[in-house]
Subunit: 143 residues, 4 copies
């Protein structure tokens, strides 16, 4: 089941070109991933601190399709897929929701970016690969 | 009327000490300010770009009372007050909502930080002071 | 000619896992790109604001190879390549410089990440593609 | 002895108003603090992670005097002062260095912001106050 996260673009997300800074799209996607894990009952405090097992991002890729501005409402879909017992990917679609008419012309719903992250589970002491924790493996498998 | 904004602490908010990075409390407060303006019908895209009139933060002050970790639910109250026709302040209280029992012990609701920002309206061409735009002045007065 | 930028990892770059937050590698690479442009005599204030022509990042990709911690010294190489009159890519290598022996064991120089960004020049009014400005085209060609 | 840190404003520091985002001034000041500690021989990796003793920021205050834009060269002075065996403050002055004539008019050196942070040393297990570690106390006393 694909999880969908909704969010408003904040001023802190933007840069001097007036739009969301390109690196911040990855932060938006990671927020959506966190919300998806939280909705699945996974405790974020423990998940993202170093408790012997860590699951860092090994790769990221983003296609930036349309700019986003402060106040835009967005929806991000989060779709994990298993790759191996220690590895999974997540596909994200960042959609700008329709802008109502205000001072600016209204604007329809549009895809703003697509992204993928690849996550590999490792032991933090020696960085050897380890199987995903069961709760996370279940979340990946349920997608 | 005091506006209250709710938010979850994200991984991107934290630093290597395991808690929210101190500068990011100001970003959290600014988000709450933006949400309060949006709820009052003020268009954020135009408000925060440079349209001849800008309303930069002239001062900020934060008291950090308790650390916040990834996954914490917080509520931020936003309380503006008029100072002069071109100036207002906003007081914020950042409260960590009660943590349910999970892997960690449950924790009661606690005040995590208090902050104040001071905002001065100026013309961007010459940085001369200017009266607050009517919609903003109304928002400040209604508080 | 490949440009090399040196930098120390700051506390603000890190997250609660104790290492640089994955999205911030793109910010580090963009800093290196800015420094490379500045070294080539390009005025950054005008380059990165919206003056009718903007050159947003259209794609990014990062391979994260090793974690970086607060205080690490890094070097980033910046290697642009022309793709079309309106498009270029930049390849980055982020290297952790050797850590001297301190409280921790010394550590040799290691590649920490490789990244690529793709940049497309457009007119901001209609988002139609436009040729790269001459100074930028010269910088890309000289690489 | 007052420590001085020099830095260029990066695109990631800015927001859609075209200038450095107000919360990021605190990050700039913290960078300057880190560089001052590093110059005094203090190992940053250990200093800023949680090793039983942590020294969080308890208060911050900033006066924003002038905007800073991408490409601006700045200098930040770092001046610590002892308050108690477990407490010290740091005063910062953020100065924009002179802008040479380019596409824009030249601009003289100007004070852009002043800030203060207050730091309190505590044991992380129970948040009880603790004396500053000797190397840090020496750095504060030498100022």
């Amino acid at each position: 089941m694909t999880y969908t996260y909704q969010r408003t673009i904040h001023f802190a997300d933007t840069d001097a070109a007036g739009v969301v800074y390109f690196a911040n799209y990855l932060s938006l996607c990671h927020e959506a991933y966190e919300e998806a894990l939280g909705a699945a009952g996974i405790d974020l405090k423990n998940f993202f601190s170093d408790n012997g097992i860590v699951i860092p991002v090994a790769k990221s890729a983003v296609d930036y399709l349309r700019p986003l501005v402060c106040g835009d409402k967005i929806a991000i879909t989060v779709k994990p897929a298993a790759v191996a017992p220690d590895t999974f990917t997540i596909d994200y679609e960042v959609t700008r929701l329709a802008r109502p008419a205000g001072k600016n012309a209204p604007a329809p719903r549009k895809l703003a970016a697509v992204a993928q992250t690849r996550h590999v589970c490792i032991r933090s002491e020696n960085r050897a690969r380890a199987e995903l924790p069961p709760a996370l493996a279940a979340w990946v498998a349920a997608a």
